[in-house]
Symmetry: C2
Subunit: 325 residues, 2 copies
Amino acid sequence: MQIAVLAGGVGGSRFVRGVRHAYPAARITVIVNTADDILLHGLHISPDLDTMMYSLGGAIDPERGWGRAEETWRVSGELAAYGVEPTWFGLGDLDLATHLVRTQMLDAGYPLSAVTQALCTRWLTDSDQLQLLPMSDDRVETHVVIDDPAAPSGLRAVHFQEYWVKLHAGPEARQVLQVGIDHSRPAPGVTDAITGADLILIAPSNPVVSIGPVLAVPGIRAAITGARAPVIGFAGIIGGAPVLGMAHRLLPAIGVGVDAASVGLHYGARGNGGVLDAWVVDDTDAGLLPRLDASGLTAVSTDLIMRDPSATGRFIQYGVKLATE
Amino acid sequence: MQIAVLAGGVGGSRFVRGVRHAYPAARITVIVNTADDILLHGLHISPDLDTMMYSLGGAIDPERGWGRAEETWRVSGELAAYGVEPTWFGLGDLDLATHLVRTQMLDAGYPLSAVTQALCTRWLTDSDQLQLLPMSDDRVETHVVIDDPAAPSGLRAVHFQEYWVKLHAGPEARQVLQVGIDHSRPAPGVTDAITGADLILIAPSNPVVSIGPVLAVPGIRAAITGARAPVIGFAGIIGGAPVLGMAHRLLPAIGVGVDAASVGLHYGARGNGGVLDAWVVDDTDAGLLPRLDASGLTAVSTDLIMRDPSATGRFIQYGVKLATE
């Protein structure tokens, strides 16, 4: 059995651990968002790929849900002592080694997908069963447009990392831009993983800045709509708020309501211009099911809290059962 | 009073601390060897500049004589865990921040001299009294030619850092190459510091890989031979062995004997094609003075052990007195 998963970072990695638990014999390909990648201090940082890699490799910091366990911040402290900006991005020492290897390989001409594979040889020892692919080898960056009274236009675009990590998603998002997305191509293996899959899962990651960019890479959406496998999506919005992150601050900017029904309808039903065969919401949102049914999107509710891989695996199997019955 | 000092790293920085102690009111410009600079893990590393900067900034590790006090090696350990070569170069976490800043500034187009000045704003708070200049903004690398039976030529060139740090100067040096030196130019301020100096000092640094490259940058030797100030050199070879480092392994490759007289005569007397007005050797080598005198090089002996800035300052003043009497 082959499974393709579309995912972001923190929530996505918890979800994939659930997939692994539910389908221990499956070959899983995770197509990871790279639109929140950022260049800092000359280093190419891929937060979602790294979160996924560390998490599946058992090296993630369990408290933060990102970065390395037993991390230290010596280099960051020194950079700050030199007065080098920005200081708001959490750049741990162990993590920095990953960025050094990535940056040097990219500078040497290797595409991000090859770099990811090289890095994963250390972390994913069952690489024949689990593979991480960046959504694209091309540079794509999410920028958030916010108000800036000092600017001639009254607006300013900041990198998503700045919006989230530095500004804590405080300013109202007027627009979300995926710089470079129009000319990006799926990384090698991405469309094959989708068309060859027996099951396609969309993780409960941020619909705007995680799943959104993956679906917006030209070719990926078409691969999904044309795939033979069922496509099941899982809501990251529970009770009108994101379980993790800042989707509630960004969904309004793309005209989508902050509720599990609106996100499901934003993804849409296959055959109706969308990508989903089934949409799984939390029991808290069971009241939204009639609206989803009326709109022609097969939906069901269950307990979507990712307490651990076992609980996550259970709700994934439940969703799959629903969609394939 | 203006003093120009030619120097390498570990020994050179101890010497400059002595210069500062001896001439607390002087304006000191240190012209630092950059021929043992190396690119590792995509980082531009300038070992002699950093040793000088940390040492004069009070941040040097006092035991090793190079690198930062209270250093840690987290990033290095991770790079090794990724299987990234080389692992033999000591790249501390605090030190790495310096290399990140330097690399990013160089990549942004700043010359090494401007980068050095920027880094020194943190370390040398008395920058109007003490300034570090790289010998050149151009890339120069010392390579050591050693035997290699496996190579078609029977020879192999290794970067000086590999020869010293990895190979511990074990293999016989057949030749020492300064790659790029012929087309290098003195960094801005270097020749002005020499021609404007009231006193020019040559530190007891390695004659082959520290002072040698500085003198070999086209324009620097001519500036010294034409300077109005007296030029006093200090021997780093005592009793036929270097106080620090591996000069005894490299002097034979350039046809110079491993003794304080041979090194003095290698530098040579001004007016006789050389750069020295006076040469100071250790009392241990007082027996070499007649040979130096006979060769027309003014020489004297004193206690040249750099126990502390005060002792170092004393022998510097002694040498200067000798040369200016």
